[in-house]
Symmetry: C2
Subunit: 220 residues, 2 copies
């Protein structure tokens, strides 16, 4: 192997691993979990099939790595710009839903991969993904809900855990519906930009009604 600079072998391995993950994200996004093979991913990444299994142990392990990589490209809730966060909890929600719409246009690969992960039926893989989400909290939902509670924007007569789940569930499904209409055909109005924005606004309104602290100016 010809190396100009004395690059460390470890670094090269890391790079190779990353290349495989990147290719895997592409192919999973394009063809679905069952739709693409370990061999084609290996070939596209310029390595052998054995290497893929050497790095990731199994196809599910490879997908999990791709899923984690995909989530890491998204921001945490509280990474929104300061002028948004200072406007409060629901402003942050609106911000990220709008961002989702924009970012999907730029690169839908990570969205598609997380979508696949959220809807996978392999119980082993499903458990691994759930544990990862619960443990790593890649979107920072728990801190975000604490933020909302501290600002007095969220109700406190309901367990924070339930609110976290509520936010997770609904943001999940809402983003899914934006990403693909296969899951909830027509809800967000397809190509109709007007209707789409109206529905997104209604969604935030629903969420506010559900978990907002009604005593604080969430006029109805």
């Amino acid at each position: 192997m010809t190396v100009g600079q004395p690059v460390r072998a470890v670094a090269r391995q890391l790079a190779k691993r990353e290349r495989i993950v990147a290719v895997a994200m592409e192919q999973f996004a394009a063809s679905g979990y069952e739709g693409c093979t370990a061999e084609s991913i290996a070939a596209a990444a310029g390595v052998s099939k054995g290497a893929v299994f050497g790095y990731f142990g199994s196809k599910a392990g490879l997908f999990l790595a791709a899923y984690q990589q995909a989530t890491s490209t998204f921001s945490k809730y509280l990474d929104a710009p300061a002028e948004v966060t200072e406007r409060g909890f629901f402003a942050v929600i609106s911000h990220w839903l709008a961002q989702t719409q924009h970012l999907i246009g730029q690169d839908w690969v990570p969205y598609r991969v997380t979508l696949l992960g959220n809807y996978c039926s392999d119980l082993q893989l499903r458990r691994a993904i759930t544990q990862f989400l619960w443990r790593d909290d890649p979107y920072g939902t728990q801190a975000f809900v604490r933020f909302g509670i501290e600002r007095g924007e969220l109700r406190t007569d309901i367990d924070a855990a339930v609110i976290v789940s509520m936010v997770d569930w609904l943001m999940d499904r809402c983003q899914d519906a934006i990403v693909t209409e296969e899951l909830d055909p027509g809800l967000f109005g397809g190509a109709d930009q007007q209707l789409r924005e109206l529905r997104l606004g209604q969604f935030v309104e629903l969420l506010r009604s559900a978990i907002g602290n009604w005593a604080i100016g969430t006029a109805r």
Copy 2:
């Protein structure tokens, strides 16, 4: 084949088809979609593998049939007892969530199968399931929401379609969480019956806050 009565061949075929579907539900529920094979289902149903593909075309087709059969064992929202429906929309919601807890103890097979269907990653299959749910509306969600609107229990400042999706999404996820803690570990408190009922009550409360018509005695 020894037949005492002159049973019609068509009836026998129907019975065989049903037997295959029943066995498929069992095995899918027990082992997941990938976890069981067309051949083992055929063997358990006492037919050849060829017959299974003859009847259902593909493994996905077989699963779809099992999924539809599973949904048909559940009641529609408005099939709740009269004394429940007359107490209104949210009483019906509470009723079915409580029922879910009871019914799962009796026979968790159909719950597990619908769970698998709701979380399948095969895009082809996913589309078929979504179309089926949208077209057949096996739980009667659309009629149920109309019912709630007619009774004045639901807000009318938001599109009915959004409310239908909201109910579908949340009931889905809530039932999933009841059926398996793998998906949302601990949310419903595992073995702790107290906590479980508390959380279910909070869930209904959240849903009421979100889509209820606040003008009508949904005290907060």
